[in-house]
């Protein structure tokens, strides 16, 4: 056991969660979603608004700037507030920041708030030739290039998937299993946007390409919803009405030329060197003192379906080039051996930048996931392709 890392294992916990139902309504009130999620989480934790003294916000600008949220939502005692860029790959670092605020005594209860709000973001800010994500250094990090007709991050995901098909010989039908499995999970989550609307692999294969090789079902749901997670110390969590869900381990985003946010390391997309891939020793597992084979439930950043098999390979759940084959025959679907994105995820619930996944994992580890409950789940891991990750455990 790594003593320096184990000092952080299970020192903090999630004590309350709340969310709203996913909806596609461009007029919906995002602050209203945030407020409802906050109220639900505070009630779930057995707290009052005055108890919340930390605020972590991860929303797509300009909505939800932290300067106004505490004031608008009636949180009078916030003494630690922080805000992050909204990509799901940064979500684990948001959770870790909240945990550090608690561990260092800067706050007792940090409310982490996020909205799925890709729908609002479509108002020309994220997805057009004026989209600000296209004007970062060297162009967008997902291969956006408006002059070449590439406006969306799905460009990078499609490029990565094609590269994977070329290198490993997997098929588009195998990729369809990702969307079908997550749609099955969404049938067990009444808050999911696609609840009540299952799809089959035939539906998938007969749907049109958007950017070949990706079809419409390979894309996340741009819908609105609000999410809240309350982080506190393990000691305080043990006094709460619900059983604590401990933050057992975390690690931040890895960055640099070998990481591409829509490709597994070594795939050979963007600046990556093309080569074989084996998993390194990762901080998140050393901190939690587990191996990936101990994980009962997996959540991944899943704005586009290729990210799911790529992430399973990045963290070692599957060997290089084998994840899509593994995901056949319902192995990651309800009842499968490795439940993945059990709320329906970005593909079938809402693009929530990981917060929907995290709320769902807490409910799973408490045994509160209803029809979606994975029997006996003890350890859940959320992760992204740039290796940011959080491991949650109920003991």
């Amino acid at each position: 056991v790594d003593q320096s890392l184990s000092a952080f294992r299970n020192k903090t916990a999630i004590v309350g969660v709340g969310r709203t139902k996913s909806e596609r309504n461009a007029q919906s009130n995002l602050m209203g979603h945030l407020g409802q999620a906050l109220k639900a989480a505070v009630a779930d934790a057995g707290l009052t608004p005055k108890d919340i003294d930390g605020l972590m916000i991860q929303t797509a600008p300009p909505e939800g700037f932290m300067d106004k949220v505490a004031e608008m939502l009636g949180l009078p005692n916030v003494r630690w507030a922080f805000q992050s860029w909204f990509h799901g790959r940064i979500q684990p670092t948001c959770i870790a920041s909240a945990a550090f605020a608690v561990m260092s005594g800067q706050a007792n209860y940090v409310a982490c708030l996020s909205t799925g709000q890709a729908l609002q973001s479509h108002r020309g800010r994220l997805t057009s030739d004026k989209a600000f994500e296209n004007f970062r250094e060297g162009g967008g990090p997902h291969l956006e290039a408006p002059e070449y007709g590439l406006f969306f991050p799905n460009t990078g995901a499609a490029m990565g998937m094609k590269k994977y098909f070329l290198r490993y010989g997997a098929t588009e039908e195998q990729l369809g299993a990702v969307a079908v499995a997550q749609r099955q999970w969404a049938q067990l989550n009444p808050d999911a946007y696609f609840y009540g609307r299952p799809i089959t692999i035939d539906d998938y294969m007969s749907s049109p390409y958007v950017i070949e090789p990706l079809r419409v079902f390979d894309h996340c749901v741009p819908a609105n919803a609000g999410f809240c997670i309350i982080v506190t110390s393990a000691e305080r969590a043990r006094e709460a009405p619900k059983a604590p869900v401990y933050i057992a381990g975390f690690q931040g985003s890895s960055s640099g030329k070998e990481r591409f946010i829509f490709a597994r390391t070594g795939l050979g997309v963007g600046g990556q060197t093309e080569g074989s891939y084996t998993v390194d020793d990762m901080t998140v597992y050393r901190m939690a003192d587990i191996k990936c084979s101990d994980v009962d439930i997996v959540g991944t950043v899943d704005a586009f379906s290729p990210m799911v098999p790529f992430t399973l390979e990045e963290f070692g759940f599957c060997k290089e080039g084998e994840a899509l084959e593994f995901m056949q025959d319902g192995r990651t679907a309800p009842g499968g051996e490795l439940p993945v994105n059990t709320c329906g995820g970005g593909l079938s619930d809402v693009e929530s930048y990981g917060w929907g996944h995290e709320v769902d994992m807490v409910r799973q580890l408490r045994g509160e996931a209803g029809a979606a409950q994975v029997p006996g789940a003890k350890i859940a891991q959320f992760m992204s392709l740039d290796r940011s990750s959080v491991i949650l455990a109920n003991a």
């Binding site: 030739d129 162009g139 408006p146 002059e147 070449y148 007709g149 070329l166 390409y209």
Partner: protein, 139 residues
């Protein structure tokens, strides 16, 4: 109607202006480090290999091989309504740089991994010419 829609233009900045000025003359240039000889990519204020800030904009061969590609089949912007479907590829240049650009003069079905391609330019405005690739040998 479609021809009145402004074509989206690249983000030309102080850092990449020499690259676009050369492109206007149909030359593909990137920065080469004067201390260690590495090609600096992505375009940056310093060499990623040795941190030298001494570099020169130099032409590359424009020859490369297709690494991966996508076929855009939906127009996300009115300027591209008459362009779909269009192919955009990542191309590994002979100099070891992987660049992104459309591939023209080939049908999507004829594309394959490692297909040799060469650079060409499309004049898009009085100031901007855009990099494209085409098969090194006619398809």
């Amino acid at each position: 109607m479609a021809d009145k829609v402004a074509w989206p233009m690249p983000n030309i900045s102080a850092a990449n202006r020499p690259h676009w000025a050369a492109a206007k003359n149909h030359k593909l240039t990137y920065q080469q480090c004067l201390d260690c000889g590495s090609w600096i990519y992505p375009i940056a204020p310093m060499c990623q290999a040795c941190w030298s800030e001494r570099f020169e904009w130099r032409p590359v061969s424009g020859e490369g091989k297709i690494s991966s590609w996508i076929v855009v089949r939906r127009a996300f912007h009115p300027a591209f309504q008459n362009e779909i479907p269009y192919v955009v590829a990542e191309v590994d240049l002979a100099e070891g740089i992987r660049v992104l650009a459309p591939v023209v003069n080939i049908e999507p079905e004829q594309l394959r991994a490692s297909l040799p391609v060469r650079a060409r330019f499309m004049d898009r405005s009085d100031d901007v010419s855009l990099l494209q690739f085409e098969p090194a040998k006619p398809a």
